[in-house]
């Protein structure tokens, strides 16, 4: 199976890169640092797992750093091989260009997920053995959400990489992706809503519904929505179920649409 062969090759290639070791170390270090900051004070035997995740790991690591890491892992997936000439090796073998693009999403997504899991869980092992009550289930579940967010950004970055003819343009696209999703999303969607005021008025939706949808349509907000639902024991139940469904659907969209669009361009190119 061609897709699996490409994914497997890319996974092996990516996990051997020095960057992976640095990532795991960085995640471990940050999670350890945050855990130290929220360590039980005095006689308290309860380790504040939820506080750790929602106040420190969430805003700093997950919504800020993981998108960046996903883009770094993905942006050179196709364009890098195109620049160096190893793409010729890949396309000399019986792989379609679709196999190449989606194989890379899978291979690099899996490598990044592995780095997130390893980086988060190594420090957690310490918390499990120390004599405090540490909510391991919440922590593990949250780590999975973090890994999913990483995969979504790998997919977006691989899509850009496939569409761009050179490594340099792919890098610029990657920076733009980070700026749009992490830094400017609220500003941009606010502008869009204002500009389309008339159009939205004609729809059977309130402005507020549109704003809420655009909010969770951002993968970082979407993941936060889902992760908080999970930590609160209200995943896909309770009053925010609509937002959660929208968020999950948009995560699937962001995983599939950018690679597909990138493939459309890549498939037509002379290499």
């Amino acid at each position: 199976m061609s897709l699996v062969a490409v994914a497997n090759k890319d996974f092996q290639d990516t996990v051997r890169s020095r960057g992976m070791v640095i990532l795991v170390a960085l995640f471990s270090l940050l999670v350890s640092l945050f855990a130290y900051l929220v360590r039980p004070q005095g006689d308290a035997q309860q380790f504040a797992t939820e506080l750790l995740l929602s106040q420190l790991v969430g805003p700093v690591l997950v919504t800020g750093l993981i998108p960046l890491v996903g883009i770094v892992v993905g942006y050179n997936a196709v364009s890098g091989e195109r620049d160096s000439g190893s793409l010729k090796l890949l396309l000399s073998l019986p792989h379609s260009r679709a196999d190449v693009v989606f194989g890379k999403v899978i291979g690099r997504g899996a490598a990044l997920a592995l780095a997130v899991l390893a980086g988060f869980l190594l420090p957690a092992l310490v918390l499990i053995v120390v004599p405090v009550t540490f909510n391991a289930g919440s922590f593990l579940g949250y780590t999975v959400f973090a890994a999913v967010l990483g995969v979504v950004f790998v997919a977006i970055a691989v899509g850009c990489s496939a569409a761009m003819a050179t490594q340099q343009r792919a890098l610029i696209a990657g920076i733009a992706v980070y700026a749009v999703f992490v830094l400017l999303w609220g500003l941009l969607t606010g502008q869009v809503v204002d500009a389309l005021d008339g159009v939205i008025a004609a729809l059977p939706l309130s402005i507020e519904q549109v704003r809420t949808f655009l909010d969770v349509a951002n993968p970082t907000t979407g993941i936060e929505e889902l992760a908080n639902g999970f930590l609160g024991g209200q995943l896909f139940t309770g009053e925010r179920v609509n937002q959660q469904i929208s968020a999950a659907a948009m995560l699937v969209f962001w995983t599939l649409a950018p690679p597909l669009l990138g493939l459309l361009k890549f498939d037509r190119d002379d290499l």
Binding site: K9, Q12, S84, S86, K88, L91, S92, L93, H95, L271
Partner: protein, 351 residues
């Protein structure tokens, strides 16, 4: 069945026509040498066979299938050594071959393949640490996976030392004996001459010649050139030689007057094979003392240059046979060269 068929293929890139109205047919089981200087359109043609580049016009058929529509099926039965590739630096040689085996769903042993190309001892080293020649061998091993029906080798000997180039030729021949069709490009003639059934010569995007090596040689004339060192090239001597049957041209090598303290001249005689004794005889009868002479057969190199530069065959130092004429030559090895008889090949920039 034909292995490769191009009909009226043109490929235009922005501002340049890389290949123009190209027709090539390669029969199954044939070893086809694809020649031409850099920038002649060889790699573009090969990239069209593999669907890396799509033709602007015309049809490309490989192993009976359309190169654009059924590329994956074609590559399933084709082994490729591309030009200007790079390996995956972090993966070992073994991993590379395993990846090719997995990709083709072939039942092959990586070690057998690595041994065949001579890098088994380095199988577990990272390919990023390989030399250029070893990378070339590694990718050849990947190309051989699954006994392909067609081998497409783009400049296979680049980066190889002479021993490596010889191994490459032996593998090409063995694959051809197995029944595989081999299509390989080169700008170095020695590699093609030894193994090819047929060659095609590209020049500026067009196929300017296509024949067997012998056929091409015949087409260009296939005569000999004698280079004769004499004490003084008198007009009588030159006229006497010119009068002989089989002699097509006689010239003084330009610029030789005064170049030699002993007053020696060099005559360049173009003729059919087997008249050199008559030429020497005629010169001596005319009172000219022959000191030394060299014979040159028209080499494939001459042929190549004749086609790619569009001149009459020019002479090169290759394929030279040096003979010593009667008498006592003082400088058998010395062959005075003048500037205008060593043609420089004009390098074209790769498109």
């Amino acid at each position: 069945m034909t292995a490769i068929e191009l009909r009226g293929v043109t490929k235009e890139f922005p501002g340049v026509t890389a290949v123009e109205d190209l027709d090539i047919t390669v029969k199954e089981g044939e070893v086809y040498g694809f020649l031409g200087p850099n920038g002649a359109g060889k790699s573009t043609t090969i990239n069209m066979l593999l669907d890396l580049v799509r033709p602007t016009e015309g049809t490309v058929t490989v192993l009976g299938r359309d190169a654009g529509e059924e590329s994956v099926a074609i590559r399933q039965r084709t082994g490729v050594l591309p030009d200007g590739f790079s390996v995956y630096d972090r993966l070992s040689g073994r991993k590379h071959v395993e990846f090719a085996i997995e990709s083709k769903g072939a039942d092959a042993d990586p070690e057998t393949l690595l041994d065949r190309v001579g890098i088994l001892d380095d199988a577990d080293r990272k390919a990023g640490d390989y030399s250029k020649g070893m990378r070339q061998r590694l990718v050849l091993a990947m190309a051989l996976v699954g006994e392909p029906d067609l081998l497409v080798l783009d400049e296979p000997s680049s980066g190889l030392d002479p021993a490596g180039a010889k191994d490459m030729r032996e593998i090409v021949r063995a694959e051809a004996d197995r029944g595989a069709t081999v299509f390989f490009s080169s700008h170095v003639l020695g590699q093609v001459e030894a193994v090819c059934d047929r060659v095609g010569i590209m020049r500026q995007g067009e196929l300017v010649a296509e024949d067997s090596i012998d056929g091409l040689r015949e087409a260009v004339g296939g005569g000999e050139t004698l280079e004769i060192d004499v004490d003084a090239a008198t007009d009588e001597g030159i006229d006497a030689v010119r009068a002989l049957d089989g002699v097509t041209d006689v010239a003084r090598a330009g610029g030789s007057a005064g170049a030699d303290a002993a007053g020696a001249d060099t005559l360049v005689v173009s003729c059919v094979g087997g008249v050199k004794t008559a030429v020497i005889g005629a010169l001596e009868d005319a009172g000219v003392t022959v000191r030394d002479f060299h014979t040159r057969e028209a080499s494939l190199e001459d042929l190549f240059l004749a086609y790619t530069e569009g001149d009459a065959p020019t002479r090169r130092e290759s394929d030279e046979t040096s003979e010593t004429a009667g008498g006592s030559p003082e400088s058998a090895d010395e062959s005075p060269e003048s500037a205008d008889e060593s043609p420089e090949s004009t390098d074209e920039v790769d498109a």
